[in-house]
């Protein structure tokens, strides 16, 4: 027996903000043109170098530096679709990027887990992916799923095991940040084809997308770019995330960090659309900040990620925004600082997608209850962005007239109706027997436990499950 997966509820902003002026955006566009034409990008992949050269880039094969004139960049980007659909297992879970909403995902791929049962910290395993996928499947705030941790108990092809656990435990779209070599990419796409069922549906609503990091400053990784090319050829969306670190792998200014990061991302988007014109791609700017006294990796304030959204749109492609993600060491006040506000800002800037819910310690630690708690912050952002219904029923002038001065509304039918329609949290403001409120951390823990016990999403068909297992075995044989 399986349980229904609740529908996804993306953030649907009723109003928007702009952070950069047109002039500032133009400065960044010109900056990227200048960096890519003058400084160039290092690309260690032979295959990619050839593609660049065939399409008008100035390639220094010896030093593996690619320089891109502005018209070459624009020609390639003109091919990239502004919108496309990232598929769920069923259409109800498709992410239609042309809709004016922001879909959010879990964070990934951490390396440690606080065990769901014993609550002890340990290295992450495949079962953690399965469990967190089920929790994510249940939560409406989560529209798509990143394998949250690494399947370290599967030393051969862990990234494919992460996909196996994901596809088997959620109906939502899966995006992977760990498929970064050509061979694993081929197997990953075979797996996606099994989930999609037909070649047509793999292309029109692919259930998988890839996330590839560029290497700040101004470089690419050979294996990862080759994986990206494999995905693009199959019609599987691939995004490029740049993570320049302000003060170490990027200048110590936000504008300089944006300039480095944007140039890297654009160089990769261009490559994909040179090789496969029209291939679905996305832009993802997720910089960090160097702790001035230790060099540790810290998250930036929210507006920095929201500017990334504006840059993506300037180039005419969708974005994956860094909306959550905390460097806090434990659950608590600090862990709640960034997520909701950053989500809110990115949504108001029109982000199509965002990720980062549910991990602590700079995206390295899975805490069982963090997803449920982040979902609360998400709800807040969602409601703050939703605007206001001012239809007569909501404006309620007749009720106000009927109650009159100094009356009260408790006994009105209107009150009963609307209070029932109000979406109250099931985590905060939960009353206890003493008339106070329960500790939200305990409520979140209970909710997580409840989900794990009671929510079992519709499984893949037996033949699909068997196919995935066969592909995994083939991959393990090849990669051993």
């Amino acid at each position: 027996m399986f349980t229904q997966t609740p529908p996804i509820e993306p953030i649907a902003p009723a109003y928007h903000v702009r952070i950069l002026t047109d002039e500032q955006l133009e400065q960044f566009r010109a900056g990227t043109f200048q960096l890519l034409e003058r400084t160039g990008i290092q690309c260690p992949s032979e295959r990619a170098l050839d593609i660049y050269a065939e399409h008008g880039a100035d390639v220094d094969f010896e030093n593996r530096i690619v320089r891109l004139p502005a018209d070459v960049i624009l020609d390639a980007l003109a091919q990239a679709p502004r919108h496309y659909t990232m598929g769920g297992r069923s259409e109800a879970f498709d992410l239609d990027l042309s809709k004016p909403v922001t879909y959010e995902a879990t964070d990934g791929t951490g390396t440690k887990t606080i065990d769901y049962a014993s609550r002890e910290m340990r290295a992450s395993i495949k079962d953690d992916v399965a469990k967190s996928a089920r929790v994510a499947d249940y939560l409406s705030s989560i529209s798509f799923y990143w394998p949250m941790v690494s399947a370290q108990d599967r030393p051969i092809a862990p990234s494919l095991h992460e996909l196996d656990a994901s596809f088997n435990n959620t109906l939502k779209h899966v995006q992977t940040p760990t498929v970064v070599e050509e061979t694993t990419a081929r197997y990953a796409i075979e797996m996606a084809r099994v989930v999609a069922e037909t070649e047509e549906s793999l292309r029109s609503r692919p259930p998988l997308s890839l996330l590839i990091c560029t290497i700040a400053p101004l470089a690419q990784d050979a294996g990862a770019m080759e994986a990206a090319l494999v995905a693009a050829e199959a019609g599987v969306p691939v995004g490029f995330m740049s993570m320049p670190n302000t003060g170490s792998t990027a200048p110590a200014t936000i504008a300089g960090t944006l300039a480095v990061g944007d140039a890297e991302i654009v160089s990769a988007l261009v490559l994909i659309n040179m090789a496969f014109p029209g291939a679905p791609v996305y832009h993802s700017f997720m910089p960090g900040m160097t702790h001035p006294r230790t060099g540790a990796y810290l998250a930036h304030d929210g507006y920095v990620y929201a500017i990334g959204v504006e840059l993506a749109h300037m180039w005419g492609v969708p974005t994956l925004a860094g909306t959550f993600g905390s460097d806090a060491h434990t659950l608590g006040w600090e862990a709640g600082m960034g997520g909701g506000l950053t989500s809110f800002l990115c949504a108001l800037c029109g982000a199509e997608t965002g990720s980062g819910m549910g991990l602590l310690q700079g995206s390295t630690l899975l805490h069982p209850d963090a997803l449920v708690l982040d979902a609360e912050l998400y709800r807040r952002a969602q409601s703050d962005a939703a605007g206001l219904d001012t239809s007569p029923d909501h404006l309620a002038l007749d009720v106000i007239h009927a109650v009159g001065p100094r009356g009260h509304y408790l006994r009105e039918r209107h009150t009963r109706d609307f209070l029932r329609k109000t979406d109250f949290s099931d985590v905060v403001h939960i009353t206890d027997e003493k008339g106070g409120y329960r500790d939200p951390f305990l409520v979140a823990r209970q909710k997580t436990d409840w989900i794990l016990e009671n929510h079992h999403p519709e499984p893949l068909s037996e033949s699909q499950q068997a196919e995935l297992t066969r592909i995994l075995e083939a991959a393990e044989n090849e990669l051993t």
Binding site: A123, S150, P158, T178, N245, T290, R293, T294, G295, T364
Partner: protein, 209 residues
């Protein structure tokens, strides 16, 4: 005393001042060990303490270390063949398959700042290259950095290769997903959770040898 001036130029991070100061001191006949220990290493000990106390930012530490290194370069010809050496040599790199180097660079920089000669092999370093570098530079310590769970096995391969080659060197490991338990499991000689920890660890291992 102008060893003081050398000392000060490191504290004040005057990268372009130090070479002539060291040269002048050599010309004046000051003992090489005094220039090295009281001037260069002494100053870096203070810089290290200031950094530990939170007074210095990372890029300031880096430039102080580079200032010291510039001074050391002037001194180096005098050190060759003499009894006086720096604190020791450390070969460091990010293991095969891994391109993360922010943490490894920090460790390199602090170890260098603490008076060790550091040979940084960069990223995506194959076990064979670590071995080659160990044969060439004869370090007391080899440091392996890994940020990916998928590149951690390359640490184990590296340690096995060193064992087979019977090279007498301490191998230490670090990087966010690595911990003491894993270090013990693969037979590493030590684990450091951050750059100051790496320096303490290396100092301890070097005195032990």
């Amino acid at each position: 005393m102008s060893v003081d001036a050398i000392f000060q130029s490191i504290l004040e991070r005057k990268r372009s001042d130090i070479a002539p100061l060291v040269q002048a001191e050599i010309d004046a006949g000051t003992e090489i060990s005094v220039i090295l220990n009281d001037g260069l290493i002494g100053a870096m000990d203070v810089v290290g303490r200031q950094f530990g106390d939170g007074l210095l930012f990372v890029p300031e530490l880096l430039v102080a270390a580079e200032t010291m290194k510039t001074g050391l370069e002037v001194l180096r010809p005098k050190l060759v063949g003499s009894e006086i050496t720096n604190r020791g040599t450390v070969v460091i790199g990010t293991v095969q398959g891994d391109l993360h180097d922010i943490g490894k660079n920090l460790v390199s920089m602090m170890v260098e700042g603490a008076g060790f000669a550091v040979v940084d092999l960069g990223v995506d370093v194959a076990p064979e290259r670590f071995l080659e570098a160990a044969r060439e530079h004869r370090p007391q310590v080899v440091g392996l950095s890994a940020l990916l769970t998928t590149s951690m096995p390359a640490m184990r391969r590296c340690i096995e290769l060193f064992e087979d080659a019977e090279i007498d060197v301490k191998i230490i490991v670090g990087g966010a997903p690595v911990n003491q338990e894993y270090a013990d499991e693969i037979g590493a000689d030590g684990y450091g959770s951050d750059a100051p920890g790496a320096v303490r660890l290396i100092k301890r291992l070097v005195t032990e040898t």
